[in-house]
Symmetry: C2
């Protein structure tokens, strides 16, 4: 247990403090078989746990949050989930914000059950926020909304992502004239949680390698209040330059979380703290 | 172990045999807290397992497949996954086809890790097929394609779903003039697995309560060869009448799987076999 995280308050209040302290790095926890091999570890749930706990320890007080990619734990079945639960418990103890990168999506009681799994206090998989997909409409996420308000949790909804195959879907034009991605951004901004002061409980995922105007997503407006959190993959190994963060995200840059995984994980446990500190510093300078 | 399932062959070959025998019922395994209460069970992973194993036993040789809604297991964390693994093992032993309703979606090695989790022989969570979401494009599912071909597994990609909030997204028009849902159907049909003879390894989810023409999805063409499997929620408790199956799905009806959960689960373990048999018979008459 450390006091790095100042864990009092809701997710959005804690995230606001991280951002106000110029902490914008979201440290990825991606124990793929290839990454475990780079760490000199065997391909097992125990190794995934070890990598995850090392990242949490190194990220505490330096990164804004950690983001486990849950697919890399799910491949080990129940053992993977037990490992992930221990990584999340470490993060809670260290006061490090957690975004469960699960990209869950469903409707009604099924989606509500996913929200229960990840956002209910006391759940073995409790995180502060989770990533979600709204192929079935923003309203399909309704099952999480009351839980977010009640327990001070958060969502990141996939809006515009950087893989080339995503473009045709996310730029498709709805009957109301908006692109699919633009409507996600609008709907996230319209979500209202009375306890959100500086940042919104519901944020979006926007790829840093994209031209957001292609998706009709506006970045030149002044920051909304509360600001829309933007989880941004694409910096580092994927090719976007952190020095361009302000020009890419404009008015959205203040509440941007730069997700980096490969750039901090490659090289193994040795030097992990130094790499996280260096990336956190570079991002703080740019935003 | 029973000999109901004739478990030899790939998923698509086994599914083709089910359909040829007029088995079109996909029995849902939905251990929500409300359903467990209806069964007189406490809200625990052990209860979810019990419900699941009862459904598998009652479905063997009667339903075409079972479909666990994984959200209702995930809410119990590792214990839920251990329970689900035992339900899936029962189904394998009984020769019952399994569709893991996980609606996973991601890109690259992350999506490949989800495919590993659910479709790799010997994985604790091995199923025959899984439901997936292509908000990041059909190509984002690439990480499963080789695994499907190699191990004879399957996917169901969400295309047009019946919740009202889904309409605006799934009818959005892409740059190539197709709706989002229509492009999913086209892309699923274009997937080629040399060992698919009667039915395709990749199918789609289409809600039975929808007017598919609103999504520009064609149902009046003769059945494709191999036929496109259609997983259809919406019959039973959700309001679509199974007697209308042929008019709803047209040329897609031959490979339609009618998913029913509430209509077979409500009432508890007593009478479960009778309800499954009755629904299976009604569906066989209609299709």
């Amino acid at each position: 247990m450390t006091d790095h995280g100042h864990a009092a308050g809701t997710y959005s209040q804690r995230l606001a403090r991280e951002l106000a302290a110029s902490r914008h790095l979201c440290a990825g926890i991606d124990p793929s078989s290839a990454m475990l091999a780079e760490w000199g570890l065997d391909d097992s749930a125990a190794s995934a746990e070890r990598l995850g706990r090392e990242v949490v320890a190194a990220a505490a007080g330096v990164a804004a949050c950690v983001k486990p990619q849950v697919a890399f734990f799910e491949r080990f079945g129940a053992a993977g989930y037990a490992a992930l639960a221990r990584v999340l418990a470490d993060a809670r103890a260290a006061g490090v914000l957690t975004i469960a990168d699960v990209k869950r999506g469903d409707i009604g009681t099924s989606f509500a059950a996913y929200a229960d799994a990840w956002l209910t206090p006391g759940s073995p998989l409790e995180a502060d926020a989770m990533t979600v997909v709204a192929y079935q409409g923003f309203g399909s996420l309704e099952g999480a909304f009351e839980l977010i308000r009640q327990h001070g949790k958060g969502l990141f909804v996939l809006a515009a992502t950087s893989n080339p195959e995503a473009f045709a879907v996310q730029t498709a034009v709805r009957g109301d004239g908006r692109t699919v991605a633009q409507a996600v951004v609008d709907d996230a901004l319209a979500f209202h949680n009375p306890t959100d002061d500086h940042v919104n409980s519901v944020g979006v995922v926007l790829g840093a390698t994209l031209q957001l105007r292609d998706f009709a997503i506006t970045t030149d407006a002044p920051p909304a209040k509360p600001a829309l959190p933007v989880l941004a993959p694409g910096f580092g190994a994927q090719g976007a330059n952190i020095a361009d963060a302000k020009s890419i995200f404009g008015g959205l840059a203040w509440a941007m979380l730069a997700n980096e995984s490969r750039s901090i994980l490659a090289g193994g446990a040795a030097g992990l703290s130094d790499r996280i500190s260096a990336r956190a510093e570079a991002i703080a300078q740019a935003v």
